[in-house]
Amino acid sequence: MASIPPKPENPLHLHTTKLTLGCPILDSFLGGGIPCGSITELVGESSAGKTQLCLQLLLSSLLPPSLGGLSSPSLYIYSEPPFPLRRLLRLSLPSLPPRPLDHIFVRPAHSADDLLSLLSHLPDSLPVRLIIIDSIAALFRSEFDNTPRDLKSRSSLFFKIATKLKDRARKLGAAVVVTNHVVDVVEAECGGARCLWSSGRRVVPALGLAWSHCVNTRVFLTRSEGMVRRSNGEECEVRTRRMHVVFSPCLPERSCEFAIVGHGVLGVG
């Protein structure tokens, strides 16, 4: 059988669609929104806002392209049950189609192999254009020891999962968002990863250097607490949440403040 020679593409025709986050400040911070066709990682400590942002994206993907959405259903794969249905119900966005929950597919994953099998068996006819994995870290916590052999097989799984996700992202023009946890940094050297401060601790993303090579964009969500003196002389505690672009194919390193309010996540300009 004669093989078909590969055909090059012209970059002029490769436009990256972006998925809105539902807030103009955050969209502008991310150069339009979450890019389609690649993997974006949201990393942060517990309660940093990762799941909240993911739930907001589940809704914004239902918006029409004119409003920055993808007019498509989404798939939410969760590894830390239960699925946060109540928080999803509290979110709202203007101009959503009726019965938005009908267009959100939800599936738990129990382990890394389970996730790999799930991704391999996703029917091509499923038209999701947003795939969320919340969180990838929980899938790798307990199964692997620190022996070189286990680390190697763990790292091989990272690349297999990332390949399947990028495949889907490319074929369907989908945005893939993966959440990850952080671990504390003990030594003075951070090694390959650059660390950030969150809640007064120096932290780096979990899963190490190999996983870092698997994602295209890394966004770090941090929290910090500080005392602020108000104009009336009173001192009060202020909690700041910040979103940092750690690396991205097209954005410079920068950070932006955001807040989590009742009905969603908003940037603070």
Binding site: P6, N10, G191, G208, L209, N216, V246, F247
Partner: protein, 342 residues
């Protein structure tokens, strides 16, 4: 006749090739002690040179004029090399430790941690290779093989615009109207972009490049970003992986020589446990490190980006501070930047 056709062992062949000996004529004036510097036993070096001189004599019809068909004088080789321009990286400091920029006819490996700027450098080179000959560039086209999905056309457009403007600035030109072929859109259209999703696709594409390059002789750079990604899974048998990688790097080297273009391979970083602690090292193993003529390692020094020339046939190791800006790769702007010779 090429070294690759000589009846010598694969490891000897790899050592000769990575040291820059690719044709029989390049071996014609080398002595065994010189060859033994390549980590080859003296007797083996004598054998290799004997085999190569025998292969030469078989070809020659008129032995009186040339020892070996295709032999050149050193002067001819020097002029030919000078005629081959280097591809600027966008940063003058980085260009200077590279001997002017990325070299044609050679394979250069660029490794670093995620976010250090490998893809940015790749895109910058795919743009800079197109700078017209009259402006000091090669006026060539680029092949960009993307295995990770990090190439974004909007970023390439931004880099192209800035590179074109900076080129005009450097030459003190004030063009009232920019001709069509010097617009950012043309620069983007001159990049042949391939998105590769598995290692078999990667090998098939590299095999196909020979035919593609015959049809597109104006391509002067082939970038693979990254050469590593698809090789970090599916290979339980590491010996097989080494063989496959070896074959691939051989083909790429041949393409570089045959078509006088440069091949730039991006590599990832992994941790290696040696002597009781973890060290950062380039991925794909020790045998891969012989596959490239040049190697540049990008790394963080605090909050600054540095590039270190780790391997080169004729340049000293050195490191330099550079930056990634909205315009692309540029010199670092801090006052304390300097080139450090090791």
């Amino acid at each position: 006749m090429e070294i690759s056709c000589l009846p010598i062992s694969a490891s000897h062949r790899a050592k000769l090739l990575s040291a820059g000996y690719t044709t029989l004529s390049s071996l014609s004036s080398v002595s065994p002690p010189q060859l033994s510097h390549l980590n080859v036993a003296l007797q083996e070096a004598v054998d290799i040179l004997k085999v190569s001189s025998e292969s030469c004599r078989v070809e020659v019809q008129d032995g009186a004029v040339e020892f070996c068909k295709g032999a050149q004088t050193a002067w001819d080789m020097l002029s030919e090399e000078q005629a081959l321009r280097h591809i600027s990286t966008g940063s003058g400091d980085l260009d200077s430790i590279l001997g002017g920029g990325i070299h044609c006819k050679e394979v250069t490996e660029i490794g670093g941690v995620p976010g250090i700027g490998k893809t940015q450098l790749g895109i910058q080179l795919a743009i800079n290779v197109q700078i017209p000959y009259d402006f000091g560039g090669l006026g060539g086209k680029a092949i960009y093989i993307d295995t990770e999905g990090s190439f974004m056309a909007e970023r390439a457009y931004q880099i192209a615009e800035a590179s074109i403007l900076d080129t005009f600035d450097n030459f003190g030109c004030q063009l009232k109207e920019i001709p069509e072929k010097l617009k950012a859109e043309s620069f983007l259209a001159n990049i042949f972009y391939f998105r590769i999703c598995s290692y078999t696709e990667q090998i098939a594409l590299i095999n196909y490049l020979d035919q593609f390059l015959v049809e597109h002789k104006d391509v002067k750079i082939v970038i693979i970003d990254s050469v590593t990604f698809h090789f970090r899974q599916d290979f339980d048998d590491l010996a097989l992986r080494t063989r496959v990688l070896g074959g691939m790097s051989q083909k790429l080297m041949n393409l570089a020589k045959k078509f006088s273009l440069s091949v730039v391979l991006m590599n990832q970083v992994t941790t290696k446990f040696t002597e009781g602690s973890f060290h950062l090292t380039l991925a794909l193993g020790d045998s891969w490190s012989h596959s490239c003529t040049n190697r540049v390692i990008l790394y963080w020094n605090g909050n600054d980006r540095y590039a270190y020339l780790d391997k080169s046939p004729y340049l000293r190791p050195a490191s330099v501070h550079f930056s990634v800006t909205g315009k692309g790769i540029r010199d670092a702007t801090s006052q304390c930047k300097r080139v450090r010779m090791m």
